[in-house]
């Protein structure tokens, strides 16, 4: 018994030590973001002390156009995820409930597409979207629908199969049309998987960099990762501003995570089993 207890203490210590190690990079970035340039040139590892300053933040905030880039990121993420939920669940439900060769073929097509790397479609895609005059936020949202479709449909497809068809049949007998049956009866039952889909897709879209880099050409449309990239290009030697900018960029995600941790971990778990 004594041996078991000391074992547990040892395990706890190892885990705690690893957690500290994992969070250390964030800590170093955070303390240095409060130093003047001279302060961090003199000492990277220590606390700010006499070189403490708050000035990095307002300047980084301005240089990053934070309100504008945050709004752009939020707008694109929210609309794209909502559309993926609505259109993806509708499509997946119909694909499960229709047992024809065509329906099976379409599902196969969606699942094989998981293997296509972005690099092999990006050049023609940018050309097409340019011709359609869609190199703008609306076009980006449309592209996220296309890229998000396979995973969304596969996750919903797996879940719908476990929903008993009798419930829907009862609704249809009661005189509900297909549309009403789906929205009133089926969609509410899909809630757990909808949470998973929205978390996985929101994490991806919020953080995505290459697609916006290829398709957004106006500063006022830039998202946070894009702004961050140009910001670092411009102020390569100004780590004092850069670090404050990094903290600002991470803040919304970390706050969201603290509020939603339970759902996020569960969502990732669900998403990986399928």
């Amino acid at each position: 018994m004594v041996e078991k207890k000391s074992n547990k203490i040892l395990l706890t210590l190892i885990t705690l030590f690893s957690a500290v190690l994992f969070l250390l990079p964030f800590y170093i970035v955070l303390i240095n973001s409060f130093k003047t340039q001279k302060g961090f040139l003199l000492d990277v590892l220590g606390l700010p002390g006499q070189y403490f300053t708050l000035n990095n933040y307002p300047e980084a905030f301005k240089k990053l156009d934070f309100i504008s880039s945050f709004t752009n990121s939020l707008y694109i993420t929210v609309i794209a995820v909502s559309l993926l939920l609505i259109l993806g669940s509708m499509a997946a439900w119909m694909l499960v409930r229709t047992k024809t060769k065509l329906s099976m073929f379409i599902f196969m097509m969606f699942s094989t597409a998981m293997l296509i790397p972005f690099q092999s479609v990006m050049l023609p895609l940018v050309r097409i979207m340019g011709k359609l005059n869609l190199l703008n936020p609306v076009g980006i949202i449309f592209m996220y629908l296309g890229f998000g479709a396979p995973l969304t449909i596969m996750l919903y497809h797996g879940f719908v199969k476990s929903v008993p068809v009798e419930i829907e049949e009862a609704a249809i007998i009661d005189g509900c049309g297909k549309f009403m049956t789906f929205w009133r009866v089926v969609f509410p039952l899909l809630k757990p998987i909808s949470v998973t889909v929205s978390i996985l897709q929101a994490m991806w879209i919020w953080n995505d960099f290459l697609l916006p880099q290829l398709t957004i050409n106006r500063p006022e449309w830039q998202t946070i990762p894009l702004k961050m990239f140009y910001f670092f290009g411009q102020f390569a030697k100004r780590w004092d501003l850069g670090l404050a900018g990094l903290v600002l960029a991470m803040l919304p995600i970390v706050l969201f995570y603290i509020a939603m941790q339970k759902y996020i971990i569960k969502g990732v778990m669900q998403g990986s089993i399928k």
Binding site: P117, Q119, M122, P124, F142, W206
Partner: protein, 288 residues
């Protein structure tokens, strides 16, 4: 199918299918076509040039270098990410206190975009490592990312730090699926910790390994953001990975046809590797 239900079929599936066709299927097909042309993105025309682009790819030393670097990186990263992820999963499910908070901590890097993580580690490697090395007199901590080797290990460390938490979550769900009765039976039979791990835990978690290896494999091969913000491909292009090589061929050198030929090769290699891995893992699962 009745006429009415056929209409509903397309109403429900149409929008998603349309976006998918325009964004992925048509560009894939067009991409294959473009790989046989002299497309350069500046002059409007493109002529068919047969296999010329593919011949140029085969003669492109930088592309070979990028491919070799990517393959070495992927193999190293897959091992280290999954090993660390699995160890973390074992630790947080070993019945210690506060494991939920700790799980949360390990998962945080995963939420943040690769571009931002790359900049964070650029600071850690170049500034914090230097300072630590100077203070403790450890020479190998200094000058990180200035050589190809430290760039390589920098990328491996960054990716392990980022993805291990994700793999941990996958392995936790695998570990939780092991029935308690099996573990109890092993304990009664007097099996040692190591025997339990080797003969019970690992075989029963094998399906989770299939998922974990698949995810890390495709992420490592397609890596771009972290590559760009951590090393930028440097020094001297020695840490340039395939995705970045394709990007640079297209936009730095305006050889879009050539870039597209590389992209088609990339697609084929990736599909073959991923399908082979799935096949082998699935076969192993059954045997175990």
């Amino acid at each position: 199918m009745k006429k009415g239900s056929r209409l509903w079929f397309w109403v429900f599936i149409g929008p998603m299918l349309f976006a998918f066709l325009v964004v992925q299927v048509i560009p894939t097909l067009m991409g294959i076509f473009y790989s046989f042309t002299s497309w350069n993105g500046i002059t409007g025309g493109m002529d068919l040039v047969g296999l010329n682009n593919y011949k140029s790819v085969l003669a492109d030393k930088d592309f070979y270098k990028a491919f070799w670097f990517t393959a070495r990186f992927a193999i190293t990263a897959i091992m280290s990410i999954n090993l660390v992820g699995f160890l973390l999963a074992l630790l947080v499910t070993s019945g210690i206190k506060g494991s939920h908070v700790l799980r949360g901590a390990f998962f945080i890097p995963n939420l943040i975009g690769g571009l931002i993580l790359g900049f964070i580690w650029q600071f850690i490697f170049t500034k914090a490592f230097d300072a630590l090395g100077a203070r403790l007199g450890i020479e190998w901590l200094e000058g990180w990312l200035a050589t190809s080797t430290t760039g390589f290990w920098g990328l491996v460390i960054l990716m392990t730090w980022q993805m291990a938490g994700y793999m941990m979550i996958i392995y936790i769900s695998g570990l939780q699926n092991i029935p308690d009765s099996v573990m109890e039976a092993a304990a009664i039979d007097g099996a040692s910790k190591w025997q339990v791990l080797k003969n019970i835990t690992l075989p029963l978690v094998a399906p989770a390994f299939t998922v974990g290896i698949f995810l890390t494999l495709s992420n490592s091969f397609k890596l771009y953001d972290q590559n760009l913000s951590l090393t930028g491909g440097g020094p001297g292009g020695s840490t340039e990975m395939v995705a970045m090589n394709i990007y640079n061929t297209a936009f730095k050198f305006n050889k879009l046809g050539l870039a597209q030929a590389k992209a088609v090769i990339f697609l084929i290699v990736l599909a073959v590797v991923a399908l082979t891995q799935m096949y082998i893992s699935k076969k192993k699962e059954v045997e175990m």
